[in-house]
């Protein structure tokens, strides 16, 4: 617990608490506000936020209930709190219902199933050797005993190398995907997107690229990459251009902003809990369990938003029809009723896989196995090479209420002495 942040959270009148404020996330104090909501108002109404009114659900089991109940808590149209987010620019080529994450059954089912084979364990097995090789190459190229930024040089770089494999995108052009991904989730004035027109231009560029590659691979479907897998599916050929673009950008951003922050989070966790690193070194068989714990502890996606389709009662509170409901995974993963010492990073917890970070129910994260595989490979390759990844300054966090992550993380690598 962060005592100062807890005192700050305690001073705000309950009704005025607004956990959607990105500043609370950037300062990493939001967990204390969420702790207070779990205790005092597990179904909390915020009347005024920059995004309008919304409800927060903060306890583990309530979040699971909402996530499973896709009939009363709909994903149709949007899963972010800001209604303007995807339509603020009146962008013609990007309408509502653009991918399966913002669809309910029955449309959700067929579209999700078209993508699933590419991310299924059997297919990932075919990509594993390539991902490992690129991880090894990157780790071997890093400076030792010298300060550098882990976020840009490792977390982002590795995620881009992986995405290049996943999409079979030219290796030298991997950073193009980073730019595209930043534009997709961007808005004017964020340092990437200059104006809605600019964003619209880049979205058109992305569409043209994926459309061309999709057609090429449909004509010659030999690879195991995601686009080839999609090109083989009949459902995909029936999609509207907007839905096609929405699906591709979902896969691109979904695999980008999340895993990179878990990679950085794993370094922060080991810095703050050095005993866990020692445990891991003594017993590398703990890597898979450590990976699950990193994903719980870092919690790269803070929430999902649903919309009520009718009046629903939850924990004795009635949420009227048509309201925004935010399920805070970040809070559920710290629920003291479910996890012992929830704020601590403990790599050998019982049932380490039982966390909320991937969501539950029909919208559960499709990339979960890929994310676990990347983190597993990263640490399997770190352990034989480095003794410690020392943090030599405070990491800076991103200004986002949706993604929990880092801008910069200055580190210094120490080589393993007997390596």
């Amino acid at each position: 617990m962060n005592a100062q942040a807890a005192a700050e959270a305690a001073r705000v009148p309950l009704a005025d608490i607004d956990v959607s404020d990105p500043e609370l996330h950037r300062r990493d104090v939001v967990t204390e506000y969420l702790r207070r909501l779990r205790k005092e108002a597990p179904v909390h109404y915020c009347a005024n936020s920059a995004f309008g009114s919304y409800w927060s659900v903060t306890r583990f089991h309530d979040i699971m209930q909402v996530d499973m109940n896709h009939r009363q808590f709909s994903s149709d149209g949007t899963v972010v709190i800001d209604d303007q987010f995807f339509s603020g620019g009146h962008i013609e080529n990007e309408k509502k219902r653009s991918s399966f994450i913002v669809l309910d059954p029955p449309h959700h089912t067929s579209r999700r199933s078209a993508v699933a084979p590419g991310l299924a364990p059997a297919n990932l097995l075919k990509l594993e050797a390539g991902i490992r090789q690129r991880t090894q190459e990157l780790l071997d190229s890093l400076p030792v005993e010298e300060t550098f930024d882990w976020v840009d040089n490792v977390a982002i770089e590795l995620t881009m190398r992986m995405l290049a494999i996943l999409f079979d995108h030219p290796f030298e052009k991997r950073r193009e995907m980073l730019h595209w991904s930043n534009v997709v989730i961007g808005f004017p004035g964020d340092g990437v997107v200059e104006s809605w027109e600019h964003r619209n231009r880049v979205m058109t560029e992305i569409h043209e690229y994926f459309d061309r590659v999709f057609k090429e691979r449909r004509a010659n479907p030999v690879g195991h990459d995601l686009i080839t897998m999609l090109a083989k599916s009949e459902v995909m050929s029936d999609l509207s251009p907007a839905e096609f673009l929405g699906t591709m950008t979902l896969l691109m951003t979904g695999g980008n902003e999340t895993t990179r922050n878990s990679m950085s989070g794993s370094v922060l966790a080991m810095e703050q809990f050095p005993g866990e690193l020692e445990k891991l070194k003594a017993n590398p068989a703990l890597v898979p369990s450590m990976v699950s714990e990193v994903i719980r502890w870092q919690n790269p996606v803070s929430y999902m938003r649903r919309t009520t389709t009718e009046d629903v009662e939850l924990q004795g509170t009635t949420i009227p029809k048509g309201e925004r409901v935010v399920i805070w995974y970040l809070s559920g993963n710290r629920d003291e009723e479910v996890f012992e010492r929830p704020d601590d990073f403990i790599i050998d917890r019982p049932n380490p896989r039982q966390h909320l970070s991937f969501g539950f129910g029909i919208h559960r994260c499709l990339g979960n196995r890929l994310a676990e595989m990347q983190l597993r490979i990263l640490w399997e390759e770190i352990l034989p090479r480095f003794d410690r990844i020392e943090m030599v300054g405070e990491p800076t966090r991103i200004h986002s209420n949706m993604f929990r992550g880092f801008h910069t993380m200055p580190v210094r690598l120490h080589r393993k002495t007997n390596a």
Binding site: M64, S113, A116, A120, P121, N351, Q354, G361, I362, R364
Partner: protein, 106 residues
């Protein structure tokens, strides 16, 4: 009571279980590999997918709940005898039950 898990590779695990557990718990408690049970038995993750042995289909109540149905619908290569192990309550009538594990959980 005893139940039998058969891995995709053919390896067999006989496990002694308490009446009243579900089949996901039975696998986890006995170290049977291939079942994850990420949602703790709420039919909300689909990581306890199994196939019921054909010979046992008749003795097992195979009605799937709405949640179970929705999750199975999303599982690649799901079969008519696919179930979520966490939704199979083990009682005496299922003594000797044979469960087949898929190649991998998604």
């Amino acid at each position: 009571m005893e139940i039998k898990f058969v891995e995709a590779s053919g390896e067999v695990h006989h496990v002694e279980v308490e009446v009243g557990l579900n089949a996901m718990e039975a696998a986890l408690q006995n170290g049977v590999p291939g079942i994850d049970g990420d949602c703790g038995g709420n039919a909300a993750c689909g990581t306890c997918h199994i196939l019921v042995d054909q010979a046992w289909l008749a003795s097992l109540d195979t009605t799937r709940s709405e949640h179970e149905e929705a999750m199975i619908e999303l599982i690649e290569n799901a079969q008519p005898n696919s179930r979520l192990a966490c939704q199979i309550k083990l009682d005496e009538a299922l003594d000797g039950l044979i469960i087949h594990l898929p190649e991998a959980q998604f």
